[in-house]
Symmetry: C2
Subunit: 295 residues, 2 copies
C-alpha cells in the first residue's frame, strides 16, 4: 500500500473507525477496532491508534479525528463552538503526544442547553456533498440530533435520548421480558409512531401497555419490540415537529434506524431524503483536513 496523505478517524464511545486517505479525499484502506474512548484512559489513545493503524503513521502523516475522542474524558477535550455557526467553525485541537493528530471540536447551544460531538462533522460533510443545502437534518442514534441549517450554518439544534431510552427500556426494565426478539413488525411500529405522534404525553403509560398486552394476551415479542421503537420515535417526531414541519428534511445514516425515521416521517406526509452516514463523516473529516492544511 502506498503511504496515505492523511488519516481520518471517527472515534466514538465504543468504536474506532480509521481510513487511510489520499489528498483528493478517496479512501485507500479502511479499518475498524473495538477501541472506543469509553474504555481508554487519556494516555491510551496514542497506543490504541498505533495498534490499529501504526503502519499508516510513517513520517508525520496528519491525523484528523472526530467524535467522543474530543470529550472531557477523551484524548484531549476539544471544546465546543457555539451555534449559530458553520459546523466546522472552530480551530482543531492538537492531541498530546508525538503524532500530528487533530480533533474536531463539537457544537454547543446556550438555550436550551445542548451539545453535539461527532455529528458536526457529518453535517459539514453533508453540506460539502450538497452545497447550498438549506433545511433540517436528522441524525438518529443514542442521542438523536435535529439541526436546522441555513446558509451554511447550524442555526439551532436539539438532542433526544431516544436511542438510549430504547436500550435502557429494553434491557433494564420489566419490558425486557416482552421485547426479547430479533424480528420486526412494521404495522406495530407504524401504530406506535401514530400513537405518540398524536398523543405524545401518553408515552409513559403507552410503554406499560407493552407489558400488559403481553401478560393479558400473550406476546409477540417482535411486535412488542417494534411497538416500543415506534412509540419512542413517534414521541421524538412530535417534539421535533417545529423542526421538520414544512421543511426540506435529510436523515443521515446508512442502516435500519435511519430508514425507520424516514418511514415514520413519510406517514406524516413529510418526505425525507436518506444520506449515507459514513460518506458524510468522511466528507466532513476531509473538509476539516483541508481547513487544517490551508491554515
Amino acid at each position: 500500500m502506498s503511504a496515505p496523505d492523511w488519516i481520518a478517524l471517527d472515534w466514538g464511545t465504543s468504536r474506532l473507525r480509521a481510513w487511510a486517505m489520499r489528498r483528493d479525499g478517496t479512501v485507500i484502506e479502511a479499518r475498524e477496532a473495538e477501541r472506543g474512548m469509553g474504555g481508554l484512559a487519556p494516555d491510551s489513545f496514542e497506543p490504541a491508534l498505533r495498534e490499529t493503524c501504526g503502519d499508516w503513521l510513517g513520517e508525520g502523516v496528519p491525523v484528523i479525528a472526530c467524535g467522543m475522542v474530543g470529550a472531557r474524558q477523551g484524548w484531549v477535550e476539544a471544546g465546543y463552538a457555539r451555534v449559530p455557526c458553520p459546523p466546522l467553525s472552530a480551530a482543531l485541537t492538537a492531541a498530546p503526544g508525538r503524532l500530528d493528530a487533530w480533533i474536531v471540536p463539537g457544537l454547543s447551544q446556550a438555550d436550551p442547553a445542548d451539545v453535539m460531538r461527532g455529528e458536526e462533522t457529518q453535517i459539514a460533510g453533508f453540506l460539502a456533498l450538497n452545497p447550498g443545502w438549506d433545511g433540517v437534518l436528522c441524525l438518529p442514534g443514542s442521542h438523536s440530533k435535529w439541526a436546522h441549517l441555513s446558509a451554511g450554518e447550524v442555526v439551532s439544534f436539539r438532542s433526544f435520548m431516544t436511542g438510549e431510552l430504547f436500550a435502557a427500556l429494553s434491557r433494564h426494565t420489566v419490558l425486557r421480558h416482552s421485547v426479547e426478539a430479533e424480528g420486526w413488525d412494521e404495522a406495530a411500529f407504524d401504530e406506535g409512531v401514530a400513537e405518540t405522534l398524536s398523543r405524545p404525553e401518553r408515552l409513559a403509560s403507552a410503554l406499560f401497555t407493552i407489558r400488559a398486552e403481553d401478560l393479558l394476551r400473550g406476546g409477540d415479542a417482535a411486535a412488542a419490540r417494534a411497538r416500543l421503537s415506534g412509540l419512542l420515535i413517534g414521541a421524538e417526531l412530535a417534539a421535533a415537529k417545529p423542526y421538520w414541519l414544512g421543511q426540506q428534511i435529510g436523515v443521515i445514516g446508512a442502516g435500519g434506524l435511519a430508514s425507520l425515521y424516514v418511514r415514520a416521517l413519510g406517514t406524516q406526509g413529510a418526505p425525507a431524503t436518506q444520506a449515507n452516514g459514513t460518506a458524510a463523516t468522511l466528507a466532513g473529516l476531509t473538509a476539516a483536513w483541508k481547513q487544517r492544511t490551508q491554515a
Copy 2:
C-alpha cells in the same frame, strides 16, 4: 408472643413483609426479609416463608398474601379480576404446599391493556379505612397507578413506568454521570414538573438538557437528580390529567415519593390527601382475610 390468628404478607419483587395479626386487625409483630419473588423459584416460597416466620405458623394458621407473589413467575399465578369491579372481587387463590396460604388476585383492564398486582389490596384497604370514598387514587412506584374509584369499584386505571424510567435513566444512560447525588433541590424539581406538565412532548429532549447543562455549565448533581424526577413526574401528571382534574385525589404512600406527587399536584391547584401505604396494605389484607373467613 401469643400465637397469631392469621398472618398477613406483602410479598413483592424484592422484599417480603410479614405481620403476625390478631382477629381484630391489630398487629402483634412485624418482620421484613430480602426474600422477594424476583429471587425465588416456585418451590422456594414455602421455605422462604418458614425461614422468615416459621415460629408464627403453628397449627394451620391462615396466611393471606398480596403482591408479585401471585404473578406467573411467583408462588402460584393468582390471575386478575377485570375492571370495573370491586378491588377484592375475585376469590383468593390457594398456594400449593402444606400451608393454609391464600393469594389475592390482581386487577386487569382490557382497553387500554393494563394490569396491577398488590395495588388492588392497597385500594381495598384505603376504601375500608375511608368508607364511601369516591375519587382518584394515585399509587406512586416503579409502575405508578392511577385508579378511578366510584361506589366501591375500580372503574378504570392506568399505569405509568415513571419509577422504572427514573431508575433506568439514572443508572443505565449518560445521565448517570450527572445525577449521582444524595441531595435534593426543590426548585429544580418544581421547574422540571412545570416544564413537562405544560409541554409533555418535550420529555426526551428535556432529559438530554440535564447532561448538556452539566457539560456546559458544570453540574449540581442534586439539582440534576431533582430535575430528572420532576420531568418524569410532570410528564406522568400531564398524561394522567383526565384522571385527576377536578377530582378528589388520594396519594397512597408513606415516604418521600408520595409527597413529591402531592407537592407536584399542589403546584397545579389540585390538593391531594396522602395516605399511609402500610396501613392501606394491612387494611386490605385484613379485608381479604375477612372475606376468606366468611366464605
